[in-house]
């Protein structure tokens, strides 16, 4: 199990270095997934299988899904194409293959965890809902606050977008009615732009 720990640690350090040094955003996120998998294997070798599973499910699953949605929503694809070239899979593929071999070896050989006894999910749950129950309540409040806060920030973005579109329509309508006046349309750079194009069309 000692060798498994060191191999996973080396994979974690290498993939994390690649996250920081890649210029392509999608490549960096790919390596971040590999790094989280490697840390999950480290947890497994330390005798903590429950948090190893949570690391894969929550970090590599849910949080990386959030990053993926952000990349899609922000349309970063202009400078880093979402269609990844085939050579980009080689680095993460090799690192993940090493991790997969480790996990298969660890499961089939019934190895002993590094630090004496394994602390399973039952012990973690007893501690979580025993002395730490107040922390669970605080974590739930934190997640609720984050949910409302994220919704609030994103909803303000959408409202401003709609207001800008409405201003654009107003500016375009004013531009069609009297092109000379659209310099006076308040607060809409895009409105005056459409006014200019409207003018050009008339000319």
């Amino acid at each position: 199990m000692t060798a498994l720990f060191y191999i996973a640690a080396v994979v974690a350090v290498l993939s994390t270095l690649m996250v920081v040094t890649r210029t392509n955003l999608v490549h960096a996120l790919l390596y971040l997934v590999v790094s989280l998998f490697a840390v999950a294997v480290v947890f497994y070798t330390l005798g903590a299988p429950f948090v190893a599973a949570l690391e894969v499910i929550v970090y590599a699953g849910a949080i990386m899904m959030l990053f993926l949605f952000a990349v899609m929503l922000l349309n970063v694809g202009a400078d880093s194409p979402l269609r990844i070239p085939s050579w980009a899979w080689v680095g993460p593929g090799i690192l993940v293959a090493v991790l997969l071999a480790e996990v298969v070896y660890g499961i089939t050989r019934q190895t002993q965890p590094l630090a004496g006894a394994e602390v399973g999910p039952a012990a973690v749950s007893e501690a979580l809902y025993g002395p730490y129950v107040l922390g669970v309540e605080l974590a739930s409040m934190l997640l609720l606050a984050a949910l409302i806060g994220a919704r609030h920030v994103a909803a303000r973005a959408r409202d401003e977008e709609e207001a800008r579109e409405a201003a654009t329509h107003r500016g375009a309508a004013a531009g069609e009615a009297s092109p000379e006046r659209d310099a006076g349309v308040p607060g809409a750079a895009r409105g005056s732009e459409t006014g200019v194009t409207g003018q050009g069309g008339e000319a």
Binding site: T16, L17, V20, A127, L143, L147
Partner: protein, 102 residues
């Protein structure tokens, strides 16, 4: 053997934290900055789990769960801010946000 696992687990956590911190200071893309914060939080959780495994207690894993909840909350709000950032400044470069106004 148990002490070796604790020491080396903490060293690994320190290395990962240092890499994440270096990336946080050098990279200018907002999404990559958020990813570096995730790396640093993950390293802190690794230190908790290594220490908990050393004494065979569940407390380290419980603390990792709290770090996990905080990381999820942080990334949700952070990515919402990234979307606003992109809409108002038309870029993802954190250096473009060098002046504050309400």
């Amino acid at each position: 053997m148990a002490d070796v696992s604790l020491d080396h687990g903490l060293v690994l956590a320190a290395i990962l934290f240092a890499i994440g911190f270096a990336g946080l200071l050098t990279r200018r893309n907002l999404i990559v900055v958020l990813a570096c914060i995730e790396i640093m939080l993950n390293a802190a959780g690794l230190a908790f789990v290594a220490a908990g495994a050393r004494w065979g207690q569940a407390d380290g894993q419980v603390m990792f769960l709290f770090v996990l909840a905080m990381a999820a909350a942080e990334v949700a709000v952070g990515l919402a801010i990234a979307i606003r950032f992109r809409q108002s400044l038309k870029s993802l470069d954190v250096d473009d946000a060098d002046e504050m106004k309400g």
